[in-house]
Subunit: 374 residues, 2 copies
């Protein structure tokens, strides 16, 4: 199905002319939105699909990550003759505000020439979507052909459907939820406390004056611990057992010490360390906070179906049977609510061993759902 | 059923005359074992039950904790006319070696007059049991009437059954497993990394010269994060939702900041902080390591049934339907293995909303199982 044609991609940064109003009542200024596009916008401007990224994702959807050199995080799905076919569609992926890959976030310069750090306003999922609306306004796109997102990207897709239904074509929500559960808030809080307990966090003011300074700075140890804890929640117990079990790492026997005797320890330590090379700790605080604040029913009078009252377009929800972070029951609740609101909705639970991360991994059934729905 | 009679209890510390040989090949010396007894040993010395405590538990089973003043952690179960009836039984609970409540652990003095710290040998669950065997030898008890333990206490009970079957009466294992899973090792590793990443850990050498100095010392922030992460695993998603949901803490609206807006955040922060008042960070490292190393099948030629080849007595296993840390499948695997070894075994899964912590909480069906089995 997929071919190896080079993908046409362009990197852009949009600077908004106006401050962006936020759910908190504050406004963000200046606002930069870094985004990547794949394929070409047609003359009618009706072939655009926006892909919304997850907590630690970025706009480098189908082209190499500039820091790590790794292929784009959804190269498997987006490209010529792939499930999201860039021969047909103009695919947009923007870095969410609050993040650290070019869009305005805590590491960005405020108007006074110093990084925002913790002066950055607390944002919401809806605020992230507001920035994306400003982006499609800039591109002259009235209505998106499709909106696609997994995990926090799915929250953004739901927020698009609830708050900007007239701008939405087909809405595809993967491995997500209409609100963050108590357990998920709890895991995020562990991560935030790990970061803020690191003395190198310094109240968020850890950016060096010279941001080109290649020295690593900031609460890297705390951020690594946060990532390790989160990473466990992205995988299934079954997947961890299959992948690592109790196998030892490069040794024949336990060392009776505190080295990474087990493969799973070594793997987690690596995941934690690698993350600190590409992510900003304050961004981690702000984006997890936005997720914890997300509750689509609460935003719409306490009833989830109200959120979809204006929706005229199709929605599709996909969950994974081993995902315990955003389990199937969450997607089912959205499907029921959209149905109650009278909009067309489909819902499928796919079987995959990878837990929450299934939406990022090789699940051929998912590819078929994406291609068929869009 | 239960009455309010005062419970007869005594605190003891046993100093072993000989070094304790360990699975690592090393030996521990000196060895002190702090233990609490309830009720009276009869003349035949055949009415003793040993209760094995969990990771952060201690010997203060049914009498107030000396540091916190709170009732003993199993006061509900152990006492006159309670499920483990101290009018009938002589109940022993000893602090595991490696811990910090009086038995030898990393905060204890080595022979050179300085705390062991990380010079303390890495121990195993079987080593903890060896210390308990030395204790019943000291008490002149040939054979225990019963051995009871939940979680890590259940691992000890299993290790008793596997390694000292001739000393065992009835063995009761609650919410436990014959080995630590990859996911559980992963959660422990997050906790250890949180502690060791804290600059106050100082390679484990954080004990002040004057141990009576009331100043708090050590990697308290890291230990609190470790406890927070672990605490989530002790509860069920369902229990967290029922107890906290997305309710806010003492406020009417979100603050758009990083305070503990949600009740679940406030609760977790409290759990983390309270823990540091009563537990030693190095002990947390050593005891989690002992749990991670636990694999009863591996100890017995790779086949779990081999572990129970010498068992002549009854075993009972109890799991809880909402326990995702040590799920029912683990207890079932033990039941099958004991059965395959030809020893009498019973197994029950109880329904309770509290997750792994159910074995510590008010589950009347559990009380009936304990009373009936012993």
């Amino acid at each position: 199905m997929a071919d190896a044609s080079p993908i046409e991609t362009h990197a852009h940064v949009l600077t908004l002319a106006e401050p962006l109003p936020l759910d908190s009542g504050r406004a963000l200024a200046p606002v930069e939105i870094a985004y990547q596009t794949y394929g070409r916008l047609n003359a009618a401007k009706d072939n655009a699909i926006i892909v919304c990224h997850a907590l630690t994702g970025d706009q480098h959807l189908a082209s190499p990550h500039p820091k790590t050199g790794k292929p784009g995080w959804w190269s498997r799905v987006v490209g010529p003759n792939r499930p999201i076919d860039t021969n047909r569609f103009f695919v947009i992926c923007s870095n969410v505000i609050g993040s650290c890959m070019g869009s305005s976030g805590p590491s960005s310069m405020a108007d006074d020439g110093a990084p925002f750090a913790m002066r950055f306003p607390v944002i919401t999922i809806r605020d992230m979507v507001r920035a994306q609306v400003a982006l499609i306004d800039h591109l002259g796109i009235d209505r998106l052909h499709g909106i696609v997102g997994g995990s926090m990207g799915g929250m953004q897709a739901l927020s698009w459907a609830a708050n900007f239904p007239e701008r939405c074509g087909a809405v595809l929500v993967l491995a997500s939820a209409p609100r963050q559960s108590a357990q998920n808030i709890a895991f995020h809080e562990v991560g935030r406390q790990a970061i803020m307990a690191d003395p190198e966090w310094k109240g968020g003011d850890y950016y060096t004056a010279d941001l080109d300074d290649p020295r690593k700075v900031g609460p890297e140890a705390g951020l690594a611990v946060a990532r390790m804890a989160a990473h466990i929640t992205y995988l299934s117990e079954q997947g961890l057992t299959q992948k690592f079990g109790r196998r030892l790492q490069d040794r024949d026997a336990k060392t009776f010490g505190f080295d990474a005797d087990f493969q799973v320890e070594s793997y987690l330590r690596y995941q934690g360390l690698a993350f600190t090379d590409r992510f900003d700790a304050n961004s981690y605080l702000y984006i997890t906070r936005a997720m914890d604040y997300f509750d689509l029913a609460e935003e719409h009078g306490g009833r989830l179906a109200n959120a979809f009252a204006g929706l005229k377009t199709r929605m599709c929800l996909v969950s994974f049977d081993t995902d315990w972070l955003y389990p199937t029951s969450e997607s089912r609740a959205v499907a029921h609510a959209v149905n109650a609101a009278g909009a067309p909705v489909s819902f499928v639970e796919l079987s995959a061993p990878f837990g929450h991360d299934s939406f990022l991994l090789d699940v051929p059934a998912l590819d078929r759902v994406i291609e068929g729905f869009l």
